[in-house]
């Protein structure tokens, strides 16, 4: 068996908050002696060993305390791995490291306390081998740990609680999902629909009352009183278990739908400015139209682009100035660093008083900046060549115009002439810029030196 040491090596935190591994001196020889035959299996050794340890602990047979400690050790590795994988997936963009997560969930110090139950024990207490594997259960409880989800939400990552899932699903949806996707029997579906109806009547009502009282944030676990009101004929524990089971089914389905519709649900990565807008390919009706449009509009574009960009930046600055605290300075600095100096998003954050790449992306909102400029250009370009765009143009034609305009803005500018003089004095790598970025930089400079209106 690989990584057998996980069954006697505990991952815990030092007083300084650093992870360390601690070998549990009594556990190791006991495991090696008691489960020698399992350890030499090639396949399925983990699940066999876990099953044996769980049985020993639950049945309180000889050595059950060592069995429990062994499982706690193994679980501590799972918890650490969950933190690491979360940080690997989201940490760079959202500004956190595994070390930010460890203190929230790696709370088993290897001792047994009378009142405090670390996460590892909560995992063991609630584990049901018929529902999932132990590693799955660890992952689930770690990632949905309240303190962890709170931190993740602060960093801009939301994980829906079971109760929120149950709040938002209507009865028709539940029926369809259980019938068509989970292939439940009619009886099971009716039960679930009835349960959800009772749940929503009580929980949603109370949630709105809580909100009125100023409480917000993650949905709390339903109280025994609430559970009793929902289904008086069952024990609160049973009702809660049934609700969590339903939430789990809905959660699975949700993943299925979202992964099947990535064009709607996939994370937008708009860190890079220089990218053709994907949706509208520049398919104009005919070659002639394309040439005509480009010819007529290119000159007008030269004149109008600068002032349209200036107007857009000014409007954004006014908007950001009225925020509390004001963000207009951070905005213009951020734009300058990104578009004029080509600094990577991740490095900009600390230079403008923000703490993550995601915050920079959201502040600069380059995609919106670009589309706002285009959308203001289209009518004024048309006015410049004396056509009333609004009256004549269909929605689809407008899309094509927008796409062609985007193509024009993305064309590389020949900056050789302009930069030659500058390079002679202070040679630095010349950034190849689009027409849009080139003109944007000019306007940004104007704002920064106070020359803009």
């Amino acid at each position: 068996m690989d990584n057998i040491f996980r069954y006697w090596q505990l991952v815990r935190l030092t007083s300084a908050g650093q992870p360390q591994t601690l070998e549990m001196a009594t556990v190791k020889p006991w495991i090696e002696a008691t489960y020698a035959d399992v350890l030499f299996d090639l396949e399925g050794a983990d699940s066999k060993l876990q099953k044996a340890l769980l049985a020993a602990w639950q049945e309180q047979t000889e050595g059950y305390e060592l069995a429990q400690m062994s499982l706690r050790c193994w679980i501590s590795h799972q918890i650490r791995n969950s933190c690491v994988s979360l940080a690997r997936r989201y940490g760079d963009r959202h500004g956190f490291e595994p070390a930010d997560l460890f203190p929230l969930v790696l709370d088993d110090d290897g001792h047994t306390h009378s009142t405090y139950r670390p996460l590892s024990l909560k995992i063991l207490d609630s584990f049901d081998p018929t529902k999932a594997s132990l590693s799955t259960w660890c992952g689930r409880l770690t990632k949905s740990h309240p303190a962890l989800t709170r931190l993740l939400l602060e960093k801009g990552i939301y994980l829906a609680s079971d109760w929120a899932i149950l709040n938002d699903t209507n009865l028709d949806q539940v029926q369809r999902i259980l019938q068509d996707y989970h292939l439940c029997s009619d009886f099971e579906v009716d039960q679930a629909v009835g349960l959800l109806e009772r749940y929503q009547a009580i929980y949603q009502r109370d949630r709105i009352l809580q909100r009125q009282a100023g409480q917000s944030g993650r949905c709390p676990e339903p109280t025994p009183e609430q559970l009793k009101q929902m289904m008086p004929s069952l024990s609160p524990k049973t009702v809660k278990a049934q609700l969590k089971q339903l939430a789990s089914q809905l959660r699975q389905y949700r993943i299925h739908v979202r992964s099947g519709n990535p064009q709607i649900y996939q994370t937008q990565d708009d860190g890079e400015l220089e990218r053709i807008v994907g949706a509208a390919n520049a398919t104009l009706d005919s070659e002639d139209d394309a040439a005509t449009f480009l010819h007529r509009y290119r000159e007008a574009l030269e004149q109008l682009l600068g002032q349209t960009i200036a107007q857009t930046i000014a409007a954004n600055l006014a908007h950001l100035d009225s925020r509390n605290p004001p963000q207009d300075q951070a905005y213009i600095q951020g734009l300058h660093l990104r578009l004029c100096e080509g600094v990577a998003m991740a490095k900009i954050a600390s230079r403008i008083g923000l703490s993550s790449q995601v915050q920079v992306t959201r502040l600069l909102n380059l995609k919106r900046l670009r589309s706002d400029v285009r959308h203001q250009l289209i009518p004024s370009l048309a006015a410049a060549v004396r056509q009333d765009v609004a009256e004549m143009v269909s929605a689809d034609r407008l899309r094509d115009l927008d796409a062609t305009l985007e193509t024009l803005l993305t064309e590389q500018v020949d900056t050789l002439m302009a930069d030659a003089a500058a390079e002679a004095q202070a040679p630095k790598p010349r950034l190849v810029k689009s027409l849009f970025a080139h003109r944007l930089c000019t306007e940004i400079h104007a704002f920064m030196t106070g020359q803009a209106p």
Partner: protein, 389 residues
């Protein structure tokens, strides 16, 4: 009495649920570029305004109010001066809630779970005075005070699909999620630059659109691309790409459509049916057309011969919980002949039919199913036109 049905019911992605209780990438919701975090006053307004309706409607109104404020914030956060006008003193209705630059907007809140269908009020389509010009789907995350603008739907496009709409009840239509093909950025384009009257009548089908109109292009499946409404004229054919079917069927418990297909494929293995790991596919349920059948389609390329070929592999089975009736017949034709023809005879115990055809990349196949009562169901031709680049 032979009725011919040409089906335009969408195909659905066959993404199998591996490790059903694992949290996956799609479970977390990172901030999107169109995610808005509502201010405390905005949330307070939503909490207050929903209390004006009866308790049975409060949660729905609460979500509607949150969605409304979120859309407003998003629209007004740009530099072009968009203003969303609505009545702050009234609880928002499920329907047209307000207008921007003359466009009447219907904001549809989506809870945490979507089931691939969007319910819209019929009045938003049918009311001659108060119809909606644009529909906006907005995901509401109440716990986080967040709204994410997902996608939109133009009235003119919806009108062009009118006869495919299924009434969910007497007040609403159920619209497939895939119809919402307008990106948030495109919505802004229309709101800023378009005259609303341009969306008021059904979209014209322009002949100069993609040459592959009215076909099922499975070539796109192989490069992870979806057919959108923009590419297939007045068509509801939408295909989502599947991940490869798992080679080991051991974990499957036969619950999801993908798992049901895997069960069938396992049964076919002794007959020598081999599906390569790079195969992609989808399925379509015909129950909404009153036909208790489900068709699975898988495709892959075959590059070993003198010419590159593609394979179309079909499995016809009953709808969940039903039995395939004797006399059901699956046929595949090319331009000239019938290539595959299998019928379920009364003494067969199988619960599915299958067919497998190969063709060069320019060949198309017509698939049809005959029902025991004599009706025929057929699909637009299956073609193979993978993208370049």
């Amino acid at each position: 009495m032979n009725t011919r049905i040409v089906t335009s019911i969408p195909f659905v992605s066959l993404r199998p649920m591996h490790h059903a209780t694992n949290l996956s990438d799609y479970e977390f919701d990172p901030l999107q570029s169109t995610t808005v975090v509502l201010s405390a006053p905005a949330m307070e307004w939503a909490v207050q305004i929903c209390q004006q309706v009866t308790s049975g409607q409060q949660w729905a109104t609460f979500l509607q109010a949150i969605a409304l404020r979120g859309v407003q914030d998003w629209l007004e956060s740009g530099a072009t001066g968009l203003r969303f006008t609505y009545d702050l003193t009234q609880p928002p209705i499920f329907g047209v809630q307000g207008e921007v630059n003359g466009f009447r907007l219907c904001i549809v809140p989506q809870g945490i779970v979507s089931d691939g269908q969007v319910t819209i009020p019929r009045s938003t389509l049918d009311d001659a005075q108060g119809f909606a010009h644009l529909y906006l789907l907005a995901a509401v995350q109440e716990e986080a005070d967040q709204v994410t603008i997902l996608c939109g739907l133009r009235r003119d496009r919806l009108l062009a699909q009118r006869d495919t709409l299924v009434p969910a009840n007497e007040d609403t239509y159920a619209v497939p999620l895939a119809y919402f093909d307008t990106s948030p950025e495109e919505m802004l384009l229309y709101l800023n630059c378009l005259n609303p009257t341009q969306l008021e009548t059904a979209a014209q089908t322009t002949p100069s659109r993609s040459p592959s109109q009215g076909v099922i292009n499975v070539g796109r499946w192989l490069s992870d691309r979806l057919d959108t409404l923009a590419d297939t004229v007045a068509s509801t054919l939408t295909w989502a790409l599947l991940p490869p079917l798992s080679v080991s069927h051991a974990m499957m418990s036969g619950h999801t459509p993908a798992e049901a297909l895997e069960t069938v494929l396992r049964e076919l293995e002794p007959a020598g049916v081999v599906i390569p790991p790079m195969a992609r596919g989808a399925y379509t349920d015909l129950q909404t057309a009153g036909v208790p059948l489900r068709l699975y389609a898988l495709t892959w390329t075959h590059l070993e011969g003198p010419q590159p070929e593609w394979c179309l592999f079909l499995v016809l089975g009953p709808a969940p919980g039903e039995q395939l009736l004797p006399g059901t017949r699956l046929m595949v034709r090319d331009a000239a002949t019938v290539l595959a023809d299998s019928i379920l005879s009364p003494n067969q115990s199988a619960n599915h039919l299958y067919a497998q055809v190969f063709g060069t990349w320019d060949e198309a196949f017509a698939v049809s199913v005959e029902l025991p009562n004599g009706s025929t169901v057929s699909w637009p031709p299956f073609v193979f036109q993978p993208e370049e680049g």
